[in-house]
Amino acid sequence: MSKSKLWNVVGTSVHKVDGAALAAGAPLFVDDELPRDLLFAAVKWSPHAHARITSMDTSRAEAMDGVHVVLTYKNVPRVMRTTAGQGHPEPSPYDFTTLDSKVRHVGDRVAAVAAETPALARAAVEAIEVEYELLEPVLEIRSALEKGAPVIHDELDAAMPIVAPYEPGRNLAAHVAVAVGDPPAALSKAHQRVTAEYECHYAQHCPMEPHIAVAAPDGYGRLIIRTSTQVPFHVRRIVAQACQIPVRDIRVIKPRIGGGFGAKQEVLIEDLVALLALRSGRPVKLEYTRAEEFTSARTRHPAVVTVDLGLSAEGDVEGMDMKVLLNTGAYGSHALTVGCNCGSKVLPLYKCDHVGFALDSVYTNLPVGGAYRGYGATQAAFAMECAMDEAAAKLGMDPVELRQRNTIGPGDSSPIFKALGEGTEGVEQAIGSCGLAECIARGAQAMDWSAKRQRRDEGRLRRGVGMCTLMQGSSIPEVDLGAASIKLNEDGSFNLLVGATDLGTGSDTVMAQIAAEVLGVTPDRILVLSSDTDVTPFDVGAYASSTTYLSGMAAKKAAAGARRQILEVAARLLDVPAGDLSLAEGMVKGGPRPLSLADVALSSLYAEHQHQVQSVASHVTQKSPPPFSAHFAEVEVDTATGMVRVLKYVAAVDCGTAINPLLAEGQVEGAVLNGIGYALTEEYLFDRRGKMRNPTFKHYKVLCTADLPELVTILVPSYEATGPFGAKSVSEIGINGPLPAINNAIFHATGARLRRSPFTPERVLAALE
């Protein structure tokens, strides 16, 4: 039986529930529906990488006609906290307060204003006079921990809210060291040893919609915040913390949002609009410019990752050690957890009993790291997968064969799962579903790997192929909570309320499909609302590849609850046991006469045993089943200019059941192209004082349609028993492949091995010589 027959709606590429409205340009985003009497906020940013504010004169700004509020460190509560939109208590240091008397990177906050017009707000910001005592900045990741390095968080109240090493006095934002087995011994006696250091760079998510939030006091004295966020419930909690007001006084609404990729898993601007609205009594909007998005939002943590591999002569991995030096920038947002993921989402891929992992996350006076699709796996897979390629070369083995020999499979476990979690110990798990072997085989075939691997070009233009294998996770086990509620309407439609936050991925559609499958209706009968903290159940939000796997299970459970209630009503109406009945095609089946869901609803609402058919469900998981993937890149290197062109890219991915194959492919394709841009063209350029010189799409080069290589996506089916209808995650994994796959392809094409990303033409040319 084919999958499409197994289910009616699951496994089908139904149209995105919000697709038609979005394509029509309907007013669905924060900026499209603004309250009356709106004030506009602007932020004064630090021009210095590291400085203490010695004096600040706001009198000129405050005197301007139409300027309502000026916030500085002198008039806002000092509450140490994190901007990381994580669960409570956040595993990120509390090293940030709304406004501080010290600035720690170019683009750090100095002051904020609310005024009648955007131009006036900007003028007021200019009119604030600030004097700084300049401090020596830390601008190099490797020098952050040196003795005598300037201390970036010398404030006394910075602290870690969970039990974890934290030493701000030496710029150490997080530290982890774990080992299973005896890695040094295993490494030292290995037949073949590869020790390799790889460094990857700053990047920004570049959602097309920059950060935007509007806070408006309502008539009851509460604050309504409409914001482009991935984490509405964390926004509510953290804004309450920052403003020192109760959670009950805040309502957070997430309308459609214009992309997130982790950038909006950060409570970045909501605290400012909230405070400005509270002080002015007026609605206030803050919208980042594109330049601010680069300098004053969050970034991918740059990292120096050293991998030490020991292999037998036959190519068995016998020992692995990974050391990560992670640059968290001026604040420690996600410094611990991104660092942990470097190990926990990469090391378990290879069967090995002797594994070491160590992390130092360090402060620098550079842009702040944060959650970014891939979340550490991107940084570490670069090093690990290139090191594996080096190992294959040393052993004279095909890289595909080396992977086939060593990768984890169904039923296998890894000691790393238990040893390394999100800043604390992890959760033991055995791999359930795993289609990696098939991913490798089908990906290699689609790339014509064997034939292309034989090729050796000698001229100016040289082609080569490279590959890598990948894993990620699906939600954070025993941490993340997803919840959903569903109710039946008079016409047989349902309102499905989820805290899970569709950030453009199509998760509302996936939730609708899951509920529709359970309830025997078409997905258009499921009206999804995400998210409104007053209305929808709690959900941690859209991150950690959790929505389909975790929140989808909550939606499935809630729908099952509603289904039970519907069948009970129907059983009474039809006078047959509920067990004889089922739901299909919008009808109750199995009874003596046809009964529609509308009949059930009308009866329960207006006639007998009156009640609302409604169900709410929560879901927590004990597992984080990894999706797996094999990536293959074909490149052409111009040896005269160093320019690298990706000709073809194949991503084969096992995401369990693809609830909506078209949307799943879209996740892979979007992640892969973002990864290719990261590997080749996207780069922060800094001046000697730590200021980003290219905060614009003119010089921070995001790929466009004309750069698109032939991109092949292969969904390899598997069935994850713990996920809804066999599903696991798909959204992040794809971004991890291009760095190593392209680097390995460049090596195959030219024999040159790059150890630093991005692979700009100048770096490639230098590596060729």
Binding site: A23, A26, F261, V668, V702, T705
Partner: protein, 170 residues
């Protein structure tokens, strides 16, 4: 001008077939004017002409609302996606974008749809290469463009067959 009192100019623009007159600051940019006029499809993405979120058609030509003074639009005809179709009655290009899976967050979609419209207007049977060229100024961070190229191909086929059915206007 005494005491910096702001001058205003009158600008006549035909927007989606309807003649409108705007009184604006001469230094105002079309993106602001059009958004203030309630055209939510014209999105702000970079304000520098690089992302294409604020794409509009000016006399049928794809342009950037953030790179035009409102005054430059005087006497011109503007098309935005609001003028193509609605969620309930989509234009074939809009429908193709939804069907092909080319809409993710949807922020770039109105601009992409207009770029497609302009492309197919001058080139009804584009090659993939022409599609990639025609949409080269519209950034999308969600889709990786694969499904967008699919959507354009699909829309082109549908528009061609629509023309065939109606006897063809070309």
């Amino acid at each position: 001008m005494p005491d910096g009192a702001p001058a205003t100019i009158e600008v006549d623009i035909i927007i989606n077939g309807k003649a409108q007159t705007f009184r604006v600051d001469p230094a105002e940019v079309a993106l602001d004017t059009l958004r203030d006029a309630g055209l939510a499809s014209v999105k702000r993405g970079c304000d520098e002409g690089d992302c294409g979120s604020c794409s509009i058609l000016v006399d049928g030509q794809l342009m950037r609302a953030c790179l035009l003074y409102t005054g430059q639009l005087h006497g011109r005809e503007i098309t935005t996606v609001e003028g193509l179709g609605t969620a309930r009655q989509p234009h074939p290009i809009q429908r193709a974008f939804v069907e092909a899976g080319a809409v993710q967050c949807g922020y770039c979609t109105p601009g992409m749809v207009l770029a497609t419209s302009a492309l197919l207007d001058s080139c009804p049977s584009p090659t993939d290469e022409q599609i990639r060229q025609g949409l080269d100024g519209n950034l999308c961070r969600c889709t990786g463009y694969v499904k967008i190229v699919d959507a354009v191909r699909q829309a082109a086929a549908e528009l061609r067959s629509g023309r065939d059915r109606s006897g063809g206007d070309r």
